[in-house]
């Protein structure tokens, strides 16, 4: 009965109900689409961090390697026998681990026989690169952040294990002509684990993008075997562990850390989003969270004020009715329940419309293929809004809570009015 009364009350002042509903609806759509955008960027960052950047879900280093490897690579590299011992441990997690990759990152000079350009090199193993770049998540979330050519690299790397990958910017700096594989070889110079200058030959033919402007003129991808040759080692600086979709990252990492602690040498592992190995991830997510929080605040305030205003007006108009309800025995909380219920119904109806609208809007935006260049990112990416049930549900819950709080605040204030004053009110 109270529910029915609450529902029917919505039709008393249709214009106000519609304008309030519209404010809630627009607020919901705004938050939902903002959430959809942040969700999309986060998923793209997750995917590129794990697969494109070859971090894996968990990356294992020797303890203190992050700081010390560049200074004392010989001490902090995993030697062949240490890698074998770790493989034993990894084999116990076969139900969770999809595949494992090894990495060595470092700095050096890339030379074309005429000039040299200082670079950072990231190693890759062709088969791991192939597996990573053909993951469904890459095509679902990070299509824009991976050059179409990078997918073609999969075959290039498989066919020739001396082929390295350069960015378009480095190709430009070093006056490399296209097609890249028609260039003569390049040489990668760097310091071996013994501290000697060394250099290896590399073939051109593959191209990638880092997705980040500040790395675009710096980062090259080099087959692990060639990096090992350069450094004079069979070891690896780190191990990237790629998990199966059903595996729980937190649980896996905890168990893995326990097992790794039994080794004679000390290790440390990091999640792919850890600031220490992936500062860009945290920086970008941090920016998005701050931006998101700002918009949530703005939209939340607007929606709250609308509800507060609408509810206050509704109460002013129905003061005598409230008095009558008290007179026939309604308690304050029952009257409050009626009004709150009224707003919740309006909110639920608005959200229902909002769900539909946000879905339509997201589809429209996506079909328009709007492209933009985010700060510090190289190249244009599509402004994509990925509608997600969890986000919509969270935003709906947030909107409902906001409505509930706003309604509660008004009712709390209005319940202070004396009953006799309510009944004597002539109505607004």
């Amino acid at each position: 009965m109270i529910l029915k009364l609450a529902y029917l009350n919505l039709f008393r002042n249709k214009r106000r109900a519609i304008s309030t509903g519209l404010a809630i609806c627009i607020g919901f759509v705004g938050l939902n689409l903002l959430g959809a955008y942040i969700y999309r960027v986060k998923k793209a960052l997750d995917t590129t961090s794990v697969y494109s950047a070859l971090h894996g879900h968990v990356k294992v280093f020797k303890q203190d390697s992050l700081v010390q490897f560049a200074l004392k690579p010989k001490k902090y590299i995993f030697q062949k026998e240490e890698l074998d011992q770790m493989d034993q441990i990894f084999s116990e997690f076969s139900s969770e681990i999809e595949y494992i990759g090894k990495n060595i990152n470092g700095s050096g000079l890339l030379s074309n026989g005429k000039m040299s350009h200082p670079i950072l090199f990231y190693s890759f193993e062709p088969e791991i690169y192939a597996k990573s770049l053909t993951q469904p998540d890459i095509s679902n979330w990070a299509k824009d952040w991976v050059l179409p050519k990078q997918i073609e690299n999969v075959d290039i790397f498989k066919n020739n294990n001396e082929v390295m990958s350069v960015t378009p910017r480095i190709a430009d700096i070093m006056s490399l002509t296209y097609p890249l594989n028609e260039n003569e070889s390049l040489q990668l110079a760097g310091r071996s684990l013994d501290g000697d200058l060394n250099a290896v030959n590399l073939e051109l033919g593959a191209e990638h993008t880092t997705g980040l402007q500040f790395l675009e003129d710096t980062l090259v991808l080099v087959p692990l075997k060639k990096v090992q040759e350069l450094l004079g080692t069979e070891g690896a600086e780190s191990i990237s562990i790629y998990l199966k979709p059903e595996a729980s990252l937190a649980k896996f990492k905890k168990k893995l850390d326990e097992k790794l602690s039994s080794l004679a040498f000390k290790t440390e592992s990091y999640n792919y989003y850890d600031e220490k190995i992936n500062a860009v991830y945290l920086g970008t997510i941090g920016f998005l969270v701050v931006m998101g929080a700002f918009f949530v605040f703005l939209i939340g305030t607007a929606v709250s004020l609308t509800i507060l205003n609408s509810l206050t007006m509704g109460i002013i108009e129905r003061t005598r009715e409230i008095g009558t309800l008290y007179a026939v025995g309604f308690k304050k909380k029952e009257v409050a329940k009626l009004f709150i219920l009224e707003n919740l119904i309006l909110c639920v109806l608005s959200i229902a419309v909002g769900v539909l609208l946000s879905f339509v809007f997201a589809s429209l935006v996506n079909s328009l293929n709007i492209r933009f260049t985010p700060p510090s990112v190289t190249g244009k990416i599509q402004f994509r809004l990925v509608w997600n049930f969890a986000i919509a549900a969270s935003v709906a819950a947030f909107t409902l809570i906001l409505t509930l709080i706003s309604s509660f605040v008004v009712m709390k204030n209005k319940s202070k009015i004396k009953l006799i004053d309510l009944l004597n009110d002539s109505g607004a």
Binding site: L109, S116, E184, S185, A189, V200, N201
Partner: protein
């Protein structure tokens, strides 16, 4: 009065220019003791490096002529055949397995505290502008302390403080400074080698010790042996011939 002022000014300019001339002259002379000669030279350099408790040994054969140098690694065996080629201020690294030489920088680390540029002959008079900073007396010997500023960006060091003995006209101490003027490496030199040039014996560097200015246990000692004047063909300094 006006004339007195002009004469004073001229005397000052003259004194300054005389100092600069002296500094350049001292530098030219001291370079000779470190291979800065017109004649073709050859010597062996052994570098003993101690760094963070680890020690390593390298040996190079250096063939130098004027501003070119061909440096070939002799030891350890795994590095044998590696070549560092200095063409004036351009520097290359090459080893037989490479398809093309690698252009490298003189200021990059060769081993330990020694930079690539430290291994070849020294041409500070050509590469640096020298000013006489002060004179000092050490052990009863007068030393000219020169301050050297790099003429070009691709030189081994940006700034150098250089102690040249008035008695021998040879440098015995050197401080290597960053662009900001901070000393980051300190070197000491000895001249126990004798080189016969055109019938005249001149002192030639026998040891250069380079220490990290902060951690002096990290050091490289370059020992120079068997210096001699040798007639080199220009062809050995041609990078295209090296890679063939």
């Amino acid at each position: 009065m006006k004339n007195v002022f002009l004469i004073g000014l001229l005397i000052c300019i003259k004194a300054f220019s005389a100092d600069a001339d002296l500094a350049t002259e001292l530098l030219k002379t001291s370079d000779r003791g470190r291979g800065g000669l017109e004649e073709g030279l050859e010597w062996t350099a052994n570098i003993e490096t101690t760094e963070n408790g680890d020690t390593a040994s390298r040996e190079f054969l250096i063939k130098a002529k004027k501003h070119d140098a061909f440096v070939e690694a002799l030891k350890p065996a795994k590095n044998k055949g590696e070549v560092y080629l200095f063409n004036d201020r351009q520097m290359w690294f090459y080893k037989p397995s490479l398809k093309k030489p690698v252009s490298i920088s003189a200021r990059q680390k060769l081993t330990g505290q020694a930079a690539n540029g430290d291994i070849a002959s020294t041409h500070y008079a050509r590469d640096y502008n020298a000013t006489l900073e002060k004179t000092e007396e050490i052990g009863g010997v007068k030393y000219y302390v020169l301050f050297l500023k790099a003429k070009a960006k691709n030189l081994t060091y940006d700034q150098i403080r250089y102690w040249i003995s008035d008695k021998t006209k040879l440098a015995t101490k050197v401080e290597f400074l960053t662009l900001q003027g901070k000393v980051f490496k300190i070197g000491t030199l000895q001249y126990n080698n004798v080189l016969s040039v055109g019938g005249k014996n001149i002192a030639f560097v026998s040891q250069l010790t380079i220490m990290d200015a902060k951690f002096n246990q990290n050091k490289s000692v370059i020992t120079y042996t068997k210096p001699k004047v040798v007639e080199h063909s220009n062809a050995i300094f041609n990078i295209n011939n090296v890679t063939r």
